[in-house]
Symmetry: C2
Subunit: 330 residues, 2 copies
């Protein structure tokens, strides 16, 4: 094993710029641990970012998101584009570091210096997952990766924040994803830019495709009509077509000046999400460490103090915020 | 239409205590609008709460949660228990105020003075949905409702917060809920206390039951083994059995001193969730109203200022929090 190198702010930033794999790995580990050095390095690199194209890949667990990403990576590599993958899906084989029987040899990509794959733990981030993924994405962007995939699972608030930096959002479903189809139908899940219905050899795949198509057809106002592609990622079937649709979405955004606008909105949203997560962490630590705040919770439990009054006292103590229902906070 | 009555803190609290339907409706509207009067009334009523038993009903859209709740309400009413229902599911027929072809006559319950049904909008709450549902639940509790159902959709963070006050969590699935089953399997969805697999006349219902059963069987450490019931809510089939399982869970909690412990944890969690949501709202307003903070976002967009530095400046300005990676905030 190589002797552990001592990185400084300068050498780490230079290493990332040069696309050095060890520098990248180290920088992202520091990002995950919310280390001051990571913050400084990303700060130095930030003016050089904004060149990578970022694709958020989301969908329920078990639909084959990582297999599809693996196949997309292979396709993109044939075009000599460099690639970064960040996975925050706890059910992903990337995250497990194992291959779980995937026929696509993800391991091949691990050996390809043009591909950097990294999973992120889902707990313990100072500014939440939104912060870690944003910073890791910026590191990969500064390292000159042309394309970055962000893999996440589900459709809740935290997933939206994780893929909130994406230029294109790709939703992966499979036959049997009835809950997700219902969530799209009910307007609970946000409409993605491209949809892949994976495991197309399943007899119900076409039914699912038609169901999703009819839901999307209801939305007449959207200028971009999300295309739906039937894929079989384990055999790389129609993976090229998914990539073409991603590129078509990119062109659509670029033509209409929408890419800059989307990135502007995404960055503002991320700053806000990270600040909210930091406020939450700060609150958590304050309540944990302050006996007086813990005493408030005991009083709530004994029905002596109502929950909202406890909240107000906590807000005043922790954030110096007069957080009443007074007009100035509305 | 009756002339709008002017409620005062005293008359509204007295009306709620007496279980007066108009007082209840008014109090919950005030809660939804985060009105100071609502806060005062709940504060006055809080010492009298803690008697109702609260059941959180969750699951993907379209599985028949509201139909099952309707059938449970009918069953519970036969035992002469009074009932409150709060729905925060945007796909719920309760929320739409319409019946959407449900064969169970939900409307019957609307005419029953022993049942109070209320839907909550999903947007614009000062302290988030967690706050509104918690306060509404306390109002119904103070009004003497024996049983309160909280209906919510999905399995994300906000849903967990909404049903975070529940004594028993009931998850409703149906054949085709493959995504939810995968989420349970991957450990992404929290294990509920009781599971109903609805639409049991579907040929795949037993397969789904067995799948869920085998996932739960993997968890050997849990003292309470979540029972799974096959139901057909539109025909009230096995609804009694669902209720028996809820009661069995209640007895389990009470026998082991777990109910007090669970409520303690729930209340602390809710206070924390409400405070976090208030911090988020406060942040949102501050960024919206302050040109200097909006300027920070412009600088981020122009790649002049990195996102985390913008976050730090916002945290310092809005919350007077030195929110660095410095040791004192860890």
């Amino acid at each position: 094993m190589a002797r552990r190198r001592e990185w400084t702010r300068e050498t780490l930033a230079a290493g990332v710029r040069a696309g050095d794999t060890r520098a990248l790995a180290r920088a992202i580990t520091l990002v995950e641990n919310s280390e001051p050095l990571a913050y400084e390095v990303v700060r130095d690199l930030y003016p050089e970012t904004g060149r990578a194209y970022t694709i958020g890949v989301t969908g329920p667990p078990g639909v084959g998101k990582s297999t599809l990403i693996g196949a997309l990576v292979r396709h993109v590599r044939q075009q000599e584009l460099s690639v970064g993958v960040i996975s925050v899906d706890p059910s992903s084989p990337f995250t497990h570091g194992a291959l779980l029987g995937d026929r696509i040899r993800l391991a091949d990509h691990f050996l390809d210096p043009g591909v950097f794959i990294r999973s992120m733990g889902t707990r313990g981030h100072l500014g939440g997952l939104a912060e870690s993924t944003l910073q890791a994405m910026l590191v990969l962007d500064a390292a000159g990766k042309d394309v970055i995939f962000l893999e996440t699972v589900g459709a809740g608030q935290s997933e939206v924040e994780v893929i909130g930096v994406a230029d294109t959002v790709l939703l992966v479903l499979m036959p049997g994803s009835g809950d997700s189809v219902q969530a799209l139908k009910a307007g609970i899940m946000e409409i993605p830019d491209v949809i892949a219905v994976n495991k197309s050899d399943h007899p119900a795949a076409k039914t699912m495709l038609n169901e999703v198509r009819s839901i999307l057809a209801l939305d007449l106002e959207r200028a971009w009509k999300p295309p739906i592609v039937l894929t079989e990622a384990t055999r790389s079937e129609n993976v090229e077509q998914v990539w073409e649709e991603v590129e078509r979405h990119r062109s659509f955004l670029e033509e209409h000046g929408g890419l800059e606008e989307r990135r502007r909105r995404n960055l503002a949203g991320e700053v806000f999400a990270v600040a909210s997560a930091r406020a939450k962490t700060h609150l958590e630590h304050a309540v944990r460490d302050d006996p007086e705040l813990r005493r408030l919770l005991d009083e709530v439990q004994r029905r002596e103090l109502d929950p909202l009054t406890a909240v107000r006292e906590i807000m005043e103590k922790v954030f110096k915020v007069e957080d009443g229902n007074s007009p100035d906070t509305r």
